[in-house]
């Protein structure tokens, strides 16, 4: 089946006499494309760029600094998903803070953090709530559970983001040319397929929703390439086993119950209108930034780090002077090298920073 999809992809690509660039906006797609060796099988004139789909990578530096500032408070336990641990802030990382004695815990589920708070009334427990529409509902469920249990020692530092405003901002910026989108499987499970219609109708870019297995990604890329060959612009859901038109209504209601959209800062994209989810006034008692009167996040990037441009598809990792020289998975400088879903780590890990003899059809390597 993979062979068949790849054959379709190559045939369609052969009928197009120009380079074609697609973008995925999902960290799992980024990783899967490298881990399965898909990049090494792409036709010469088709590129798959990684967009702003890695939750850790799009989190603004100031938000990461706030979290590390919180961890330094000895009365606070910070609970986080693993990816956040090693992201460097202005002063160290959560992992460094833990080694210095801060109480930082890696959890698989936010409910573990709620449980910890319920069992440790003397401590303030803060959950680092990052991620897109995929993780926002579980944060919402946790806040509602904490409210139900009257937990006054649980709060969240929420930097949840919405994928579509970022895709739109990227297209409007005019800084990156994209011929179509491989739309994220997980996010689409929640928001459904319909929201992408705006990208198709207003920006005339084909959108194909795809799953994560090698076959599903190859099929989705073949479908996108065929649309370009045929001059078509359509929204196609090739992950119907998980994604419906309207998405997961229960999860959407959870999001609507406790959050409202707000202008939010993204790494590499700046402030995007209505792109973030912030707690509604009635739930602000669970907002860690208010509870601990944290300083206002400063906007800055690590010196020389191009993560912001990498996650918007404007640069490839090896165009960054730090990449593979100073910035490596064991000594990361930017989040794209920290997260297992980050483009820089995928390049480094599966391609040895471009040293691998296999040609990679990504970004500027062939320009």
């Amino acid at each position: 089946m993979v062979t068949e999809a790849l054959k379709r992809l190559r045939e369609a690509a052969a009928a197009i006499d120009r380079p074609v660039k697609f973008m995925e906006v999902c960290g799992t797609h980024t990783m899967s494309a490298f881990r399965t060796g898909l990049h090494s099988l792409m036709p010469d004139n088709v590129q798959l760029l990684s967009g702003p789909g890695c939750p850790v990578c799009v989190t603004a530096q100031g938000d990461i600094d706030q979290l590390i500032e919180l961890a330094a408070d000895r009365d606070v336990t910070v609970c986080t998903y693993g990816d956040m641990m090693r992201v460097p802030g202005q002063r160290g990382s959560l992992a460094a803070a833990r080694a210095e004695g801060a109480d930082v815990r890696v959890v698989y589920s936010i409910m573990d953090a709620v449980r910890y708070a319920a069992e440790h009334h003397g401590r303030q427990v803060v959950f680092a709530a990052v991620g897109f529409e995929t993780t926002a509902p579980s944060t919402a469920a946790a806040v509602l559970e904490a409210e139900r249990q009257n937990l006054d020692n649980f709060s969240v530092l929420a930097t949840h983001k919405r994928v579509l405003p970022a895709m739109k901002a990227l297209l409007e910026s005019g800084k990156v040319e994209v011929d179509g989108f491989l739309c994220p499987g997980h996010v689409s499970v929640i928001i459904g397929s319909e929201p992408y219609r705006m990208i198709v109708d207003d920006y005339h870019k084909p959108c194909v929703i795809g799953g994560f297995e090698d076959v599903l990604m190859a099929v989705a890329l073949a479908a996108l390439t065929e649309q370009i060959r045929d001059g078509a612009t359509a929204l196609v859901n090739l992950y119907p086993q998980a994604v419906t038109r309207r998405g997961n209504i229960v999860a959407q209601r959870l999001i609507e119950t406790i959050y409202e959209p707000a202008d939010t800062r993204w790494r590499g994209l700046g402030v995007i209108p209505q792109s973030g989810l912030v707690l509604k006034p009635s739930y602000q008692t669970f907002d860690a930034a208010r509870r601990f009167e944290l300083s206002t996040p400063e906007d800055h990037d690590p010196r020389g780090c191009l993560c912001g441009q990498v996650i918007t598809g404007r640069k490839t990792p090896h165009e960054c002077k730090l990449f593979a020289r100073v910035c490596t998975p064991i000594h990361p400088i930017g989040p794209c090298m920290v997260s297992s879903e980050g483009t820089c780590q995928a390049w480094f890990k599966y391609n040895r920073g471009g040293l691998h003899p296999t040609p990679l059809t990504t970004g500027a390597t062939r320009q």
């Binding site: 998903y81 992992a95 080694a99 890696v106 090698d214 100073v326 391609n351």
Partner: protein, 354 residues
């Protein structure tokens, strides 16, 4: 501003830089562990034998024999998991480290660090496992030590086992012996120990048929060495940092290009599911009952057949080859016919966000 040790980059001396502390990832058996050993341990203690960083050190003894010596500490949480516990682990790990050096294990030393408050029945369960594994391996515990630390100073029970064994003088297993054309053989499916422990730790509510593969491999290895000893060039057990770490090390140590074939690497469906759920790659997850044998390609089929006769080698197969290139890179031919690099994992296995 970036911290100094980041700007210093991946040099061997960076662990010494002011303010750097030990992180959990330094103990993960990955690149960061290598850096700590290269940066702090070897400069102080390095010598011809230690610098090899092999599973066992092999010391001269007499005309016919050399002495293999190894030691390992076991701090697994939880101490009991599907398929085994810390006691079985402590015996198997050390027996396996001796066996892959080509040694016949003679005896084990067992040191226990117990936390105040540990129920004695828990200790009894662990000791029963030690006895069981030791009997399976036919390697007795011949000396030991017991220490108790205050409540909160340690987590339940830590075990340390050292072992000695004898290696015939004419048996030379070394990365230098790896040759172009050699086959890489494994005795069964990968990732099961690490995934079982991760599931028990992170998702105790999940009911899985997955079990740790922890087992002493000395009988299996002995059978291979007895029948095909001359064809075996090197062996290692794939523990922390998984098959990926082992294969990347083999490529680096031998200076050869190594290619693994994903389509033939055995992974049970339940392990694959668990890995997907936890956001991990089975290639990078720990095993405690898997050996990779690098052998002459002409003897590979017979070695596989011999391994399959043994209970712990039923799914033995050739998973890769040593190439002609002297680039020290390990590569994977992926399921869909693509190619990618295999590198040693960084360190602590951290779950992804979604």
């Amino acid at each position: 501003m970036i911290r100094d040790d980041h700007q210093a980059g991946p040099t061997l001396t960076s662990p010494r830089s002011n303010g750097a502390r030990i992180s959990l990832a330094h103990g993960g058996g990955g690149q960061l562990t290598d850096e700590l050993i290269g940066g702090l341990v070897l400069p102080r203690l390095g010598n011809g034998l230690l610098n090899e960083l092999l599973d066992s050190a092999v010391l001269p003894l007499d005309a016919q024999h050399r002495l293999a010596l190894t030691i390992d500490a076991y701090v697994v949480t939880p101490w009991r998991f599907a398929g085994g516990d810390i006691g079985r682990l402590a015996v198997s790990g050390t027996v396996n480290d001796l066996s892959v050096a080509g040694a016949k294990p003679l005896g084990l030393a067992l040191s226990m660090i117990l936390a105040e408050g540990l129920p004695q029945r828990d200790l009894d369960v662990v000791l029963a496992s030690v006895a069981q594994a030791s009997s399976e391996a036919g390697v007795p515990v011949v000396t030991g030590d017991t220490k108790v630390v205050g409540h909160g100073q340690a987590d339940g029970i830590y075990l340390i086992t050292a072992g000695v064994g004898v290696v015939p003088t004419d048996r030379r297993l070394h990365p230098d012996s790896i040759k172009a054309g050699d086959a890489l053989i494994i005795n069964g499916p990968i990732g099961e120990h690490g995934l079982t422990v991760m599931l028990a730790r992170e998702m105790p509510e999940i009911d899985s048929v997955l079990r740790s593969d922890v087992a002493p491999l000395n009988h299996l290895i002995n059978r291979v060495m007895t029948r095909h000893g001359g064809g075996v060039h090197f062996m290692r057990d794939a523990t922390r940092s998984g098959l990926a770490g082992l294969a990347a090390d083999l490529a680096k140590q031998s200076g050869r290009h190594i290619t693994l074939d994903e389509a033939v690497i055995p992974v049970r469906p339940e392990a694959r599911h668990a890995a997907d759920m936890l956001g991990l790659d089975p290639l990078e997850v720990a095993n405690e009952g898997k050996v990779v044998i690098v052998a002459d390609r002409n003897q590979a089929d017979q070695i596989v057949a011999t391994m399959r006769e043994h209970e712990l080698g039923k799914q033995a197969c050739v998973i890769g080859w040593v190439g002609d290139d002297g680039d020290g890179i390990c590569e994977l031919n992926t399921l869909i016919g693509g190619r990618r690099i295999i590198q040693k994992p960084y360190g602590e296995q951290l779950p992804r966000i979604c």
